[in-house]
Structure formats: structure tokens, C-alpha cells
């Protein structure tokens, strides 16, 4: 029987009511009395020297309050990068200055050069058109390998070259890995591109800055996944505002997918300008601006080699990847191709030797950073593609080859520095095979062929690492942040309680699922629990939501704080019941004395805490409010097996997804409905990457896919119904909920199975096609078949 509340129940989402009735509170819905509007004049050139920015005519335009240029920000800090990678020679990465407004040079199309603050947005935009720019265009570097050649134009004149870092991992494994390739019975090689994407949450970014002169307090309302991170980065490193004078609020946020993790110039600008203009200043991104100013994702060019022995055991893996950083280092950009990518290259397999090389490159493009999965999709795609290619070269079943090489004993220490705590890869593959009717595939293929279509089946596995931690380890790896999470549980006198979590919900349904956990622990109705997030003035310092960390890390903090509450409440109950504390049991919202019928209700205990008349004041303080900070001892490792069945029209190259099945192991599950929805969304983004989406620049650094007319977002008729299962559950062994995280799995696990399926379809028609780069658009598939 499905539960009707608490952990394991598909509780309907409480946040839905406000979203369905149009009374959500997104950042663009916030309007402050007296606010002015800013319009950013952005570079239409990928690379150029700024000779002059003449604002004199614009300054006299109607409604203009003030115009800012790069010179106004010379005294403030650089937009900081939150992760410093050390290269294979022990040198730290090259780290350029990232100005709020371009100064001296422009380095990518879309970089803000000037900002007009005016009474209305229309007036700001009109005045921006009157700004006269004198910029001398410079040659742009767009292709990463070209950017590394001698004589290539330098994105940053003060750096040695366009190489951010050249990372080797694990450097000590390199010689042994190379030797294993020398000894291999078979080597499969694949060169591929992991296509550049734009995250495209449906809500464009917004920032509203406000300044209270009387108290010298700044407030920034912003579309962020992690308001405390913004407060720390912007306050301490850019504007020099102490945190106690800076409040950052991220209210309802309309999707993030990674791109709202980062600290952006527009946030710093609105905070700065609100004080400079003594007015609230609001910026709302248009979608066109979003395409040239939101951090992009992926954009790796990789060569991967897999060595096998005569029995088809994987003996070594070697990769060389070029990773695009864009023109500046976005907040967590350096970590994505390194610690979020190299550490995942073992995948689900017991390959004993692995060496990963990554060259991160500056180009005259928008900065690239984490997008749903962040490094892990790139790792999974290349690994699962090369394994599939190896199976085809060797003439063995791709599923059997995978099963043969599965890790089966846990904990398992990989050769790429991580230890998987738990998993059961055969179980998810068994489940997948039971879902996809593999035996019936031949008949379905025959039916497709009768209709003039080709049919293919692609399978892959994935391993993910969520809840990146612990903080002291990531600090050694270059993180300039802690990766714990916080929660305060405030119980009110009448028994209801408020959880203030450092996690942030922007579609994940935390207000529902987090309440389920606390309600279950105490044995009260979910509606007695309110979840508060997204406001640094309410919530203890927390790190926010990304990397599928919220339940595993934020939920664990909440559990720890709730445990403290329960422990204290038991002390109060023991006093009220005149019993020993050790005999007090909490069940269904009541404290009872074991073995007796004496009990006291939750609400009586909470009332006693705040009206402490009959209360052990000599032993414990009044009140019932506790805070916990939880720093995990390890990552969590969700895993799964996915299958895609496609039809390909050989006349047009059009690929249609006929069936898609996902068998995931997320450990324990709090709300199955929400988990299923998270997988659906991830699958759509992964399939979007595989078939539709491509962020494309021309050789001059002009963005060709700069609107929804040119960037192919998945529509309803591009996707099938999904077959999703998460009944295989090996609980995480090191967090109190046994949960692993489910937010990114779909996006990580789905691209390889789509490409594997298309290759399978084409090979079934005798086509000598071993790989097609994503997106598998009709023209690319058709061309590959010719």
C-alpha cells in the first residue's frame, strides 16, 4: 500500500497551488517603490579593444538616472572564481580578472560594456542606443585547438597564453596506463565532441538591488540556486560589503539546472548601482541576453581509448580532453572538467588503470560552467560510447561486455581517487532488461523495416557522484568553499515547526519532500512543517542546491537538527511524565513512558518549552530551536542502466525516440512522484542534447544559436512517454537518510543510449557508421549514412 504521508509517500506538492494560480513570487514579480531599471549595452563583437565609450549624448536622454562604464568599476573586485585547479606540473591555473563591466577589451559577444539606469526600461534601452562605442575588432579565438597554437590571439593579454591549465589525473598512473595499452589485446579509440549547450531555465535571470542609507544595508533579490554563495562571493570579493550588511534573497526561482549557481556581473552591478543611485535598481534578462550572458555548459572535445585483454576485460582507459572555459572563469568552471569529470571515468567498471588529461582553454565565447550533471555527463558519454564501440568491434553483446566488467564488490576504491560506498549494477541492468522487452526487439525492427525505417536499440550504464564532499577534501582539491549544508529547526509553542534550510528549491519540490522527512521523524502531520529557504536573513549559512545534493546533504542537516530537537523534547517529556529520560519513546507525535500508558502529546511538550512553568530550568534552557551543519564524509553514488529504442528515417535522417527506459538506483526515496519527475526532466535534457540542442559559434565568435528560433529546445512532440523505475535501492551507507540524489541522473545517463541506438540502427542497414557527434540532427544522420 502506498503511504499517505511521510517518507516514501507521493505527497502532492504544496508549492503547486501558488504556481498554478499565478501567485508565485519570482524575482521579476518583485517591484520596489521608486525602483529604476538598468539596461546593459553588450558587446556585439567577440574580441576587441575598447578605445572609447562616449555616454555624453545618452546621459541627456529622457529618464536617464546614471550611466556606468568599466571605469566606474576599476576600484571594485573581480568577479571571483570559486575553484583553483593545480595542473599536472604542480602549477596553479591561469586566472584572469573578470570585470563587472568590460574595461580595456571586450572578450565575448554579450559582455556588458555600459549600463544605463533610467526611470523605465524603455528609456534605459533608448539611451543605450545613443552610447557611442569605439572598439577596434581583434581576431577572435573560438576553436580550442586553434586557441592553443603559437601565435593565436590571446583572450587575456596579461596571461601567458590561452591555456588555463593542463591537468593530469592520476599523474602517477600514466606510465602504468600507457604500458597496459602496449600490452592490450584490443584497443578501441573514439574521438568525439560533447556539444555545447545553453541551460535555458524558463525563467530568465533577474536581479533587484536595494540600499537602505539609514542602516547602510544592501539587499539583492536574485534568481539564484545558492543565495549565501552569492552573498559571500559578491560581498567579500567584489563589492567589499560585510555579510552582516548584505542580504541576498532568492525567492521562487524558475529553474536553474546549474546556470543559476554562479555569481554574475549583473548581480554585483544592481547591488552597486542601488547605492550609487540611491534607488532600487532592477534588471530583467531578456531571453536574447540570456543566450549571451548565462554560463553555457559542456563543450568538450575528447579522444578516449579503451584497452582490453584477450578475454574482453577492460585493462586500461586513457583520455585526452579539451574543455572550453569561454572568455572568463565562471564560478565553478575549473572544477567541471577535472574533479567532476576525471573522478567519474571508472564508471561502473573495474578498469584497473585510468589516466585522464584535460586541457582547459580560454576562447572568445561566453563562459562555460556547470550544467545539469556538470562533468559527469561528459564522462559517462565518452565511456559508454567507447564501451559500445568496443563491443561492436569485438562482435560481443554490448550488455554482456558491460556486465562482464561491472564492479560487484563494495566499497570499491576506483583508480581515480573515489570510493563507491554501495551499488548493484547487475540489479539495475536486470531491471532494465525486464522493462525493455529485448527479446521482442527483432520483431519490432522487422516491423520498422517493413515501413521503410531503421530501428536501433542502445543501452548504457552510468555512475554519478552527488553531494560533493567532504569540505576538507574538496579544499585540498582547490575548492574555495565548504560543501556542507545547514538547517535550523524552529519549533513553535503550539507544535508547528519551521525548517530553515540552506538548500534552495527551484523546481525540486523541497517544500513538500523536506516536510515529509521531518513529519515522519516526529510523527506529526506534514502540514505542521513549513520549509523556508532562499533568504540569507532567515536561513543559516548554507551552500545551496546543485549537484543533486539537496536531500543527501541538506536533508541530512535537517535530520541532524531534528534529532537534536527530539532529544531535547524527550528531556522535557521525561520531566512532565516524571520518568527517566531513557524510558521516553516518541511515536506518532506523542511521548510515552516505555511499558506504561503514560504519555504526553507533542504539542504539550512544545508548549512547555516556551511556557516553562513546569520545566527543568536547572537542567535545560527554555525554547525548542536547533541548528545543525552537516558535512558528508563522502560523495553519494547513484547509478543505473538506460535503454533507448529509435527509429531512423533513412530518407531524411530523422531520428524518432520510440521507447525510453530508465532503471535507477537512488538509494532510499522520500517522494517517488517527485523522483520520477526529476528523472523525466533529466531525460528530456539528455535527449535534447543528443538529438536537438547545439550552441553554435561561427569562426568570428558570433553566436549563431541565440534564440529559441535557432536553439532547438525539446518540445512535447519531440519526446515519448518515459518508462522509469527506481525500485533497485542500495541505500547510501554514510548519510542518515540513505539517499543518493536523483536530480541529474536523467541528463547524465541518457545521451549515450540515444547515440548507441542510432549507431545500432544504421549498422543494421550495413552502414559503416561508428559514431556521429551530437546533436544527431537529420542532416548529420543523413550525411553519416551516405
Amino acid at each position: 500500500m502506498p503511504k499517505d504521508g511521510g517518507i516514501g509517500a507521493s505527497s502532492k506538492r504544496r508549492e503547486d497551488v501558488r504556481f498554478l494560480t499565478g501567485v508565485g513570487n519570482y524575482t521579476d514579480d518583485i517591484n520596489i517603490h521608486g525602483q529604476a531599471y538598468v539596461f546593459f549595452l553588450r558587446s556585439d563583437m567577440a574580441h576587441g579593444t575598447i578605445n572609447s565609450v562616449d555616454t555624453s549624448a545618452a546621459a541627456g536622454m529622457p529618464g536617464v538616472v546614471q550611466i556606468f562604464t568599466g571605469a566606474d568599476f576599476e576600484a571594485v573586485g573581480s568577479i571571483p572564481c570559486g575553484w583553483q585547479v593545480t595542473d599536472k606540473h604542480g602549477e596553479v591555473m591561469q586566472e584572469p580578472r573578470h570585470p563587472v563591466l568590460a574595461h580595456g577589451k571586450v572578450r565575448h559577444v554579450g559582455e556588458p560594456i555600459a549600463a544605463v539606469v533610467a526611470e523605465t526600461l524603455e528609456q534605459a534601452r533608448d539611451a543605450a542606443e545613443a552610447i557611442e562605442l569605439d572598439i577596434s575588432e581583434l581576431p577572435a579565438v573560438v576553436d580550442m585547438k586553434e586557441a592553443l597554437k603559437d601565435g593565436a590571439a590571446k583572450v587575456h593579454d596579461d596571461l601567458n597564453n590561452n591555456l588555463c591549465y593542463d591537468w593530469g589525473f592520476v599523474e602517477e598512473n600514466k606510465a602504468a596506463t600507457d604500458a597496459a595499452f602496449e600490452a592490450a589485446a584490443h584497443v578501441t579509440t573514439l574521438e568525439l565532441v560533447n556539444n555545447r549547450l545553453v541551460a535555458n531555465p524558463m525563467e530568465p535571470r533577474v536581479a533587484v538591488g536595494e540600499y537602505a542609507r539609514g542602516t547602510d544595508e544592501h539587499t539583492l533579490y536574485t534568481t539564484s540556486q545558492n543565495p549565501h554563495v552569492i552573498r559571500l562571493l559578491m560581498g567579500a570579493f567584489v563589492l567589499g560589503i560585510p555579510e552582516h550588511k548584505l542580504r541576498v534573497v532568492a525567492p521562487d526561482v524558475g529553474g536553474g539546472f546549474g546556470t543559476k549557481i554562479f555569481h554574475y556581473q549583473e548581480e554585483a552591478f544592481c547591488t552597486f548601482a542601488a547605492k550609487a543611485c540611491n534607488r532600487p535598481v532592477k534588471w530583467t534578462s531578456s531571453r536574447s541576453e540570456a543566450f549571451v550572458s548565462d554560463a553555457h555548459g559542456r563543450d568538450h572535445v575528447t579522444k578516449i581509448e579503451l584497452a582490453l585483454d584477450g578475454d574482453n576485460n577492460f585493462t586500461a582507459l586513457r583520455t585526452e580532453t579539451y574543455a572550453n572555459m569561454g572568455a572568463y572563469l565562471s564560478t565553478f568552471a575549473p572544477s567541471v572538467p577535472t574533479w567532476l569529470h576525471g573522478t567519474l571515468m571508472a564508471g561502473n567498471y573495474k578498469t584497473p588503470l585510468i589516466y585522464v588529461n584535460v586541457k582547459a582553454v580560454f576562447t572568445n565565447t561566453v563562459p562555460v560552467d556547470a550544467y545539469r550533471g556538470a562533468g559527469r555527463p561528459e564522462a559517462t558519454f565518452q565511456l559508454e560510447r567507447v564501451v559500445d564501440k568496443a563491443a561492436r568491434e569485438l562482435g560481443v553483446d554490448p550488455v554482456a561486455l558491460r556486465r562482464q566488467n561491472f564492479i560487484t564488490e563494495f566499497p570499491y576504491a576506483t583508480p581515480v581517487a573515489v570510493e563507491y560506498d554501495t551499488g548493484d549494477y547487475h540489479a539495475t541492468m536486470d531491471k532494465l532488461e525486464s522493462m525493455i522487452d529485448r527479446d521482442g526487439f527483432a520483431a519490432r525492427r522487422a516491423e520498422s523495416e517493413k515501413n521503410g525505417k531503421l530501428r536501433g536499440l542502445g543501452v548504457n550504464c552510468y555512475i554519478e557522484a552527488c553531494g560533493i564532499a567532504p569540505s576538507n577534501l574538496v579544499g585540498q582539491l582547490g575548492a574555495r568553499a565548504g560543501l556542507y549544508e545547514s538547517a535550523t529547526v524552529r519549533v513553535n509553542a503550539t507544535g508547528g515547526l519551521v525548517v530553515m534550510t540552506g538548500s534552495h528549491s527551484h523546481g525540486q519540490g523541497h517544500e513538500t519532500s523536506f516536510a515529509q522527512v521531518v513529519a515522519e521523524m516526529i510523527g506529526i502531520d506534514e502540514n505542521m512543517v513549513e520549509i523556508v529557504h532562499g533568504d540569507t536573513s532567515k536561513v543559516p549559512m548554507g551552500m545551496g542546491t546543485y549537484g543533486s545534493r539537496s536531500l543527501a546533504v541538506g536533508g541530512s542537516a535537517m535530520v541532524r537538527a531534528t534529532e537534536k530537537i527530539i532529544n531535547k523534547a524527550k528531556k522535557i517529556a521525561s520531566h512532565l511524565l516524571e520518568a527517566s529520560e531513557g524510558d521516553i519513546e516518541l511515536k506518532d507525535g506523542a511521548f510515552s513512558v516505555a511499558g506504561t500508558d503514560k504519555s504526553v502529546a507533542w504539542g504539550d511538550v512544545t508548549l512547555a518549552a516556551y511556557v516553562p512553568h513546569n520545566y527543568p530550568l536547572e537542567d535545560i534552557e527554555p525554547g525548542l530551536e536547533e541548528t545543525a551543519f552537516y558535512d558528508p564524509s563522502n560523495f553519494t553514488y547513484p547509478s543505473g542502466a538506460y535503454a533507448c529504442e529509435v527509429e531512423v528515417d533513412p530518407e531524411t535522417g530523422k531520428v524518432t525516440i520510440e521507447r525510453f527506459a530508465a532503471a535507477d538506483d537512488f538509494g532510499n526515496i522520500v517522494n517517488p512522484m517527485i523522483v520520477t519527475g526529476q528523472v523525466h526532466g533529466g531525460l528530456a535534457q539528455g535527449i535534447g542534447q543528443a538529438l536537438l540542442e547545439n550552441c553554435s559559434y561561427d569562426e568570428n565568435g558570433q553566436l549563431l544559436s541565440a534564440s529559441y528560433m535557432d536553439y532547438a529546445m525539446p518540445r512535447a512532440d519531440d519526446l515519448p512517454m518515459f518508462d522509469v523505475d527506481h525500485s533497485c535501492q542500495t541505500p547510501c551507507t554514510h548519510n542518515p537518510l540513505g539517499v543518493k540524489g536523483c536530480g541529474e541522473a536523467g541528463a547524465i545517463g541518457s545521451p549515450p543510449s540515444v547515440v548507441n541506438a542510432v549507431v545500432d540502427a544504421l549498422q543494421s542497414a550495413g552502414k559503416d557508421v561508428t559514431h556521429i557527434d551530437m546533436p544527431l540532427s537529420p542532416d548529420r544522420v543523413w550525411a553519416a549514412m551516405q
Partner: protein, 161 residues
């Protein structure tokens, strides 16, 4: 500036607008009906769909002045008179047809228009109709399921998880 007068969710509304003011801006900025969202600037995403004289319209693609005298319905006016969710809204909640909620107002308004003209749409018809509404969160699975459920069809079999 031009004065416009219209009926919005059954109530008279008026304001002074520039010729270039979009209906979406008028609703959001002047009437403070911020449930209508703007997710793009090329009429692709559909977050801004409202009904004008009973027809689904992308309000970012219509000038406020063009709606002078019209009967406009927005997401804020869709719940039942007692404030409870209407059939479509309830189906979206029941079937988890929304996550971040940003595209949701447009989805609900488009669904109402679809079901008015096609009370029992097939899955393929629903997917085709949603061509002009982009969702980045749900993969559409549960949106399609919600719409078919709202139309009174049994979704247990066709949209198994």
C-alpha cells in the same frame, strides 16, 4: 500615451500605455498580474499565454492597445469561485505536471484552450498542440498526462511510469 480599457478576469481594467507596450507588460507592470510570465522574446516559449476574447494568445506578441475593449482571462482568474483549483489546475497538481512553475501559467491557459476545442485529445494531439509551450523541467510526460486526465480520460494505462 493612449488609454486602454479592457475586462480582465471579469473586472474592468484600464491604464495609459505607450504604443509599444506589450499586453504582457501591461498585465504584469500596470495591473500587477504577475502570474503571466515572460520566458522569451521571440514568441516561442508560451509562458505568457492568456485568453483574449476566448482565444489563446501569447501576450508578449500583442500590443496592449490591441486589447482595448477585449475580454482578457489570465491565470489569476482560473481557480474555482471558492478559490479551489479548477479541473485543469488540479490535474496538473495530481499528476506532477509542474516543477519550477514558470511555464505553468501558460501551460494551464493553453490547456484550457485546447480542451475547449478538442475535449478528448489523443496523446499525439496534446503533444502537437503544445508546440508553442516550452517546459524545461518535466520532459512533458506528466504535463501530457495531466492534460489527458483533465479531459476525463483514463491515464493509468497510457502513461505508466
Amino acid at each position: 500615451m493612449t488609454q486602454v480599457n479592457m475586462t480582465v478576469n471579469g473586472k474592468a481594467a484600464s491604464g495609459d500605455v505607450e504604443g509599444r507596450t506589450l499586453l504582457s507588460s501591461f498585465l504584469r507592470d500596470q495591473l500587477k498580474l504577475t502570474g503571466t510570465h515572460v520566458g522569451c522574446d521571440t514568441s516561442q516559449c508560451g509562458a505568457c499565454v492568456v485568453h483574449v476574447d476566448g482565444v489563446a494568445v501569447k501576450s508578449c506578441t500583442m500590443l496592449a492597445a490591441e486589447a482595448d475593449g477585449a475580454d482578457v482571462a489570465t491565470i489569476e482568474g482560473q481557480a474555482n469561485p471558492d478559490g479551489s483549483l479548477n479541473v485543469i489546475q488540479q490535474a496538473f497538481q495530481d499528476h506532477h505536471g509542474l516543477q519550477c512553475g514558470f511555464c505553468t501559467p501558460g501551460m494551464v491557459m493553453s490547456t484550457a484552450a485546447l480542451l475547449k476545442g478538442n475535449p478528448k485529445p489523443s496523446e499525439a494531439e496534446v503533444r502537437a498542440y503544445l508546440e508553442g509551450n516550452i517546459c524545461r523541467c518535466t520532459g512533458y510526460h506528466n504535463i501530457v498526462k495531466a492534460i489527458m486526465a483533465a479531459s476525463g480520460q483514463d491515464v493509468g494505462a497510457i502513461a505508466a511510469e
